[in-house]
Symmetry: C2
Subunit: 79 residues, 2 copies
Amino acid sequence: MKARVFVTLKSGVLDPQGAAIGSALDGMGFDGVESVRQGKVFEIEMTETDRDAAQERLDAMCRRLLANTVIEDYSVELG
Amino acid sequence: MKARVFVTLKSGVLDPQGAAIGSALDGMGFDGVESVRQGKVFEIEMTETDRDAAQERLDAMCRRLLANTVIEDYSVELG
C-alpha cells in the first residue's frame, strides 16, 4: 500500500523559510501571493494491505520519527 | 484561493534522505516499509480566484523557483 504523509508547522509557529519563498516570489513579479508555508511530504510504500492497520502504523511512525508534534502537525493519505 | 504544491524527486534520482528515514523506521521496529521518498510541500494562499489563472501562475512559480525540473517533479492541488 502506498501512503503520503504531510508534516507541516502548526499554525502558530513562525515559518521563516516559507516567508522567504513568499518574498522571493513577490520579488519575481508574482503578485497576489498572500502566504507561503513550507512542509514535508513522505511517500511511503508498505507491505501492509489492511487500511486500518496501515493508518495506525503510520500514525505511530509520525509520532515517533517523522513529525515533531510539539511544533508540527501531520496528516496521512492512504493511496 | 489556497493551493498545495508538491515537489518530489524524479523516480530515477537517488534519495539518500528518504533511504535514511526508511532504515531508521526499520531499526525502530516498523517492518514492512518498502520505500520512503521525501519531498516538499508548499501551502500557498493567493488572491487569485480564477482556477485556470491560479493553476497557470502556480505552474510558472514551480518552473521558476519552487522546483528544480532537472531532478524534481511537481504537482499542484487547488483547494
